[in-house]
């Protein structure tokens, strides 16, 4: 009898909430494997959720590996910042440097952050929670994790899950909004590829100048922009190939695994199974839609001002989801006219969106972190 109760102690202490969370973990793993939704992150997150919700799991709690990982790199923001070094080392800002005006579209693509923030406030979230939910509108996983962990760590799990799962849905969320707001005639506007070679010196100076300028203007953005641009500086310098390779591959991969597991482990039943999670799920898709709409409308406005050939579709790429958003633009434009190639323009807007989302994260932090 005693032996049986020892053998079944795990089963006996299984709560309904944990059963549900095992289901959520399973669902994330399913989405990662079968649907291939951001598998690199959703699979570790799902596995982390599964492992953390097994009753009596020694992986969580004092000395547990998942708790250890959380304390080592999520609680203190180390992991998202290391990932930014890798993103910087992988990103080619060439398309943006060739068309610097795309920076405006990147800024417009951040509108969803503030729109969602206000809606979240109306729904009863406190200001720090609302800001963290709004940052889903940056459509940038590591930025969302970085900001929400500082402002509202108890919402980190749902926010990270929502940010990453919707990011993989960009090709599904964006096209209907693009077709709704941009007329068929506008979608057919051709934009000639502007060959505008960027010198090596410009490419090297760019990350340094951006870091200094953004750092002086928005000190709270220094960690994010500093690490992103450090990676990019190493890439463009051409003299530290091994460091670039390590940042973009080994470090980014290892840290992604650790980050995913640790975030999955924060998804404990009592913290995750609340109506807030459901609201975040809804607000998240609202943020994505609002970003897209704002980017498109701003691009229309820009076209009206410059009078040149500007296809408003590229406004949808002014978000951080790289390179999905730019590909969506290319695809929607080609559905109308197969001779139209907007990819490079969209990539310019897309990389601008990456920079703008990091800056927006810093702005949100400086507005609210002091409270």
């Amino acid at each position: 009898m005693n032996l049986l109760s020892i053998l079944f102690s795990g089963l006996a202490s299984l709560s309904w909430g944990q059963v549900l969370m095992l289901g959520v973990g399973g669902l994330l793993i399913y989405l990662a494997i079968v649907k291939e939704y951001e598998p690199v992150l959703l699979l570790p997150i799902g596995a982390g959720a599964l492992l953390a919700n097994l009753p009596l799991s020694p992986l969580v709690g004092d000395g547990g590996m998942l708790t250890l990982l959380y304390n080592a790199g999520v609680g203190n923001e180390l992991f998202p910042l290391l990932i930014f070094v890798g993103i910087g080392a992988m990103t080619d800002f060439g398309p943006l440097l060739e068309q610097p005006h795309m920076l405006l579209l990147g800024a417009a693509g951040q509108f969803g952050i503030f729109g969602t923030l206000f809606l979240a406030l109306l729904l009863g979230f406190d200001i720090n929670e609302a800001a963290s939910i709004g940052i889903i509108g940056a459509i940038d996983g590591p930025t969302s994790i970085y900001v929400s962990n500082l402002l509202a760590p108890h919402l980190l799990g749902p926010i990270a899950v929502v940010a990453y799962s919707y990011m993989s849905l960009v090709p599904i969320i964006q096209p209907p909004i693009m077709r709704l707001l941009i007329s068929k005639k506008e979608r057919r506007i051709r934009m000639p590829y502007s060959e505008n070679p960027v010198s090596r010196r410009t490419r090297i100076l760019f990350p340094i100048v951006v870091t200094v300028v953004v750092g002086l203007l928005v000190p709270m953005a220094i960690p994010l922009i500093g690490m992103l641009m450090l990676g990019n500086l190493m890439k463009e310098s051409g003299v530290v190939e091994r460091l670039v390779g390590a940042s973009a591959n080994e470090i980014a991969n290892v840290v992604t695994l650790f980050l995913g597991l640790a975030i999955g482990a924060t998804m404990q039943a009592d913290a995750f199974l609340r109506k807030e999670t459901l609201l975040i799920l809804i607000l998240g898709i609202f943020a994505f839609g609002l970003d897209t709409a704002a980017g498109l409308l701003f691009a229309k406005f820009l076209r009206w001002i410059v009078h040149g050939p500007l296809n408003p579709l590229i406004g949808a790429a002014g978000i951080s989801a790289f390179p999905m958003a730019a590909r969506v633009v290319q695809k929607v434009a080609q559905d109308e006219d197969f001779e139209n190639f907007l990819l490079m323009h969209a990539m310019g807007a897309n990389t601008a969106g990456q920079i703008a989302s990091v800056v927006a994260g810093g702005v949100v932090l400086s507005l609210f972190a002091a409270r």
């Binding site: 060959e195 040149g308 390179p323 290319q330 197969f338 990819l343």
Partner: protein
Amino acid sequence: MKHYTVHIGEKTYRIGVQALQDAEHLQVWVDGRTLEVHVQAEADVSETAGGAPTPAPASPVPAAPADTDTTATALRAPMPGVILEVNVTAGARVQRGDQLLVLEAMKMKNRIRSPRAGVVAEIFVQPGQNVNYDDPLLRYGEG
């Protein structure tokens, strides 16, 4: 910007011409479409962007030569990238819209489809080859 009205056969095109960085690089609007045109010293006109289904692009620039060499019959790379597939062979008859090549740019596979009907005379690229913007990919022949 200068405006022209050009009559070709029974068709009329409204055309706007504007110099870009110098007098050799022009941006040309043809019935709402935008093209960038490069006029070289020997009066050789090469259309450098957009692809052109209408017969107009070669004509709006003054001093355009009447003879059309490869610049007029070539299909050019719309952006830099790597050729992944070549889907036609020399001598193939293609319709407008037929897939000719696959060009990978920014890790995205882009189908390059034929802007016109015709016969493929010559293919200048092979799978795995890097191409720059405006490199000729293939040439159409007569027939």
